[in-house]
Every structure is written in C-alpha cells, then in structure tokens.
C-alpha cells in the first residue's frame, strides 16, 4: 500500500466474512494510480456521504454508439487518476461460460489498457471493464477484437442479450437458451452497436419458468422456456421420495397452486390439464419429475424499472412458441421493432408504448391475435370503443 493513501473508513470494510472489495482494490493500488485515486475518491464519498461522479456524454470507439459509458470525476484536481474513468462493456459469451485461458487474456488486456477493475457481471450481462481514459478506448477495443471479443450495448440500442445456463447444465431447459442468445447477438450486431431505437431494448432468455435471469422483471422482451404436454414422471424415483422422510403432502401436494397433484399409494398423479407450469413440484422432486417433451417458449414484453412511467413486469404476448428454429423469432422481433419505431416516443420503452397505445392496437400492429392467456381477466369496465357496428338501416 502506498503511504499517502489513508482510508480509515474504507478500512472498516476489510473486516468480516464476506469477500472484501476494499482489500481487493488495495491490492491493485500500488500498480495502478487510477485505483489509488478511486479509493481516495471513494473514501471521500464515505466521509461526505455523497458521490463525486459526473455523467459523461460523448465517448466511444469509432463507429459504435454503444458499449462505452463515459464517466468523469467531479474532483479531477484532487484525484487526477480518475479524471476519466470510463466503462467498457464486453459482450459476454452465452451463459457466462469461460475458460481460464480466455479470462486471463481478457485480464491481460485490461491490466495493460485500464484500471484492472471489473464487474462480473453487469446487470445487463456484459463483463464490465471499469475505468479507463478516453485515449485507451480505441486501443482496448483493438486488443479485444484481436482476441475475438466485441463490445456490448448501451444507450438507445439493443442491449446485450443474456441467457441462463440452460441445456448446458440444467435439466429444466425447454429450449437452447445459449444458442438463441448467440444467434440474436450475432444477427443484430447493427442494432447492438448503432443506437437506432427510441430507447433501450433488453432481451433475456430463461430456459424455464424458474426464470433464473429474471427475464420477466428485467427485460423488455423475455423469452422463457415452457412446455405444453404432461410433466414426465419417473414413478420408481417418486416411490423413493415417498419412502424417504420427505413430507410429500405438505411440501408438494398442498403447495401446488392449482391443486392438481394427488398421491395414490406410492404413485403420483398429476392433472396436467390444470397444471400452470409453476415448476414447484419439479423443483422439489427433481429426480422424479421433469418438464414435458413438447417444449418451446413463452414471450413476455414490457418489463422495466420505475423510471419513467412506473415499473412494469413483462406480460405474456405469446403463450407458446416453437423454438426448433429461430427464423420466427427474428421475424417477431423485426415486427415489434418496426411498430415501436413507427409509434414509440423518445425515451419510451416498449412496455410504456404498449400501455399508451393499447394492447389491442399493438397486437393488430404486429399481427397477433388476442388470446385469453394474455390477461389476468377480461376488462371489468364497460367503456368499450366498438369498431364494428351496424349503420342504421344499412342493408335496407
């Protein structure tokens, strides 16, 4: 540690069982003046109880409108090392899978060109390189692309798609989340790198309704695996659960939201026509129960955080879509973007746009038929604007 860096407040965060980012950052402070000044400024924030960053407008790599977040210290004289402290979002591989070699290469690049600090990972999914100066952006980008890495999205563009571990290591996966994520990321490079939308558009892919990527809450478009036919049952494995100490009645039967499970002797019976695919029984009895065989995905649209019009969960737009090829998905996405382009307002997310314009109009616009799975219930107010009606005496 450098002698001139005193951080009595941050030092308190070196205590305790949880891994300490302060300890970790300090291990870089001697090598990197940038990290030293980051700690210095952070200590000041802790003392003064306020942040000292300025929003950055206009930095990036040549040709791209996304992938870099400009950030400047509000105290550049005191902390020159962080007078520029931009972030670069490196597009992660599907499912956040890496090899040690690949990660080490990325670390080498970042040690050479930036602060050596990163986020594993950003909320959108990218591997976030945290902190470099404007002059290093282009060299970092070249070093990345030389090793076959590229930047992700930021600004009013397609944000970096991300997906759960899916079929790579999860028996619940109802479609290949990794392949779709790869496919969409590559198919929409232009939309990812050159902001052309009203606002951001996030796509998250989860392989089943457990929704490990929080697609329904955190993406404008969630693609969530689902099945249509019967839950697959291994009765022998179920009998073993019965023979174990497990309270099947309390833990499974009574917890089914639609009461569609019963047990006769050592056999489980499921009324699949009433199952709402909530995953509870499958999660609880992983050896005996598995998702069905007729698999695909449900599409939700419109989740977003509270800014600007209040937060929204995504809502079901397509209850079931075949996922054996991705052509239909491209087609759907293109139609949605087309509509949003035409009808959306500046800084209006797709969910807000649909609320303003009305779900019915939106469906008509992208060519989908209304189905009851899209709503909790039909409307309960009578203020209907009828479009089809008979003119008086029309046929007379």
């Amino acid at each position: 540690m450098s002698d001139d860096l005193k951080t009595p407040l941050l030092d308190e965060l070196e205590k305790g069982a949880w891994p300490s980012f302060v300890k970790d950052l300090k291990s870089m402070a001697d090598k990197k003046p940038m990290v030293k000044d980051l700690l210095g400024q952070l200590e000041k924030s802790y003392a003064d109880k306020r942040g000292y960053w300025k929003h950055g407008g206009l930095v990036g790599v040549m040709g791209y409108g996304g992938g870099v977040i400009g950030r400047y210290s509000a105290l550049p004289d005191e902390f020159p090392g962080v007078s520029h402290f931009h972030t670069m979002r490196v597009n992660q591989p599907s499912g956040w899978f890496y090899t040690s070699d690949a990660l080490n290469e990325l670390f080498d690049i970042w040690d050479e060109h930036g602060s050596g600090l990163l986020n594993v990972h950003g909320s959108t999914g990218d591997l976030v390189f945290l902190g470099t100066v404007t002059d290093e952006l282009e060299p970092t980008f070249r070093a990345l692309t030389a090793k076959n890495w590229d930047l992700g999205g930021s600004g009013s563009d397609l944000r970096t798609p991300s997906c759960c571990v899916g079929p790579a290591r999860c028996e619940n996966a109802c479609y290949d989340t990794l392949a779709l994520s790869y496919d969409l990321t590559h198919n929409y490079q232009d939309e990812l790198h050159r902001p052309m939308f009203n606002y951001k558009y996030k796509i998250k892919m989860s392989g089943c309704p457990n929704d490990c990527t929080a697609a329904i809450a955190r993406s404008d478009m969630g693609i969530i695996g689902i099945w249509k036919d019967d839950i697959q049952v291994d009765q022998a494995a179920f009998a073993e659960y019965i023979d174990s100490e497990m309270d099947i009645q309390g833990s499974v039967v009574d917890k089914c939201p639609t009461g569609c499970i019963s047990v006769e002797g050592k056999e489980i019976k499921i009324d699949n026509s009433n199952c709402v695919k909530c995953m509870h029984c499958i999660n609880t009895l992983p050896k005996a129960l598995r998702v069905g065989k007729e698999r695909g995905a449900a599409i939700t649209l419109g989740a977003k955080a509270p800014i600007v019009e209040g937060a929204l969960f995504g809502s079901v737009m397509i209850p079931f879509m075949d996922m054996s090829n991705f052509e239909d998905m491209h087609d759907l996405i293109d139609r949605i973007w087309e509509f949003w382009d035409e009808h959306g307002k500046n800084r209006e997310r797709i969910g807000e746009c649909i609320e303003r314009i009305g779900l019915a109009t939106f469906l008509e616009g992208i060519g989908l038929d209304p189905v009851p799975q899209m709503v909790k219930q039909p409307r309960d107010n009578p203020y209907i604007f009828y479009e089809e009606y008979f003119e008086e005496e029309e046929e007379a």
Binding site: H55, V59, G60, G63, G65, P76, S156, P195, M196, Y199
Partner: protein, 81 residues
Amino acid sequence: MAGISIEQIADDMYQLVAESAGQKKLKSTDLTKAMTSKYGDQVSKQDCKAAIKLLIDSGRCVYGYFGGSSIELPHKEASAN
C-alpha cells in the same frame, strides 16, 4: 426506385444535424423520418441506416448520449475538464 444515393442522404442528414446543433438533439429515428418525409419511397430504412453508418464511420458525426442516444457533430468531451 433507388433514386437517391446513400451519399446524398448522408449529406442531407448532416445538414439537419448541423442546423439543429445546440437546439435539439436528433436521434436515428428523427433523421430517418425526415428523409422518408422528404423523399417518400425513394429512400428505404435500409438506405437511411447505411447513410447514418457512413456519417459516423467517416467521423463527420458522432453518437452522443444524454438520457437517450443522439447523432451529433463531433465536439470536445462534454463533461471533461
């Protein structure tokens, strides 16, 4: 139909960006809509995309970000000292 060249569209777009500099930040969609209303179906969305790419890649314009992405004239880093 492709009567208008990409270069021509890019020049027109540049004109718009230059005129509104300091008053209104224009987005991709604003430029595209301006072109389609000027030239009707002589220009396609693809042409407009290509024109924007040309503007950016040539360095005549840059992307900006203040609460939404815009296309602007290059200038000094806004918040830098």
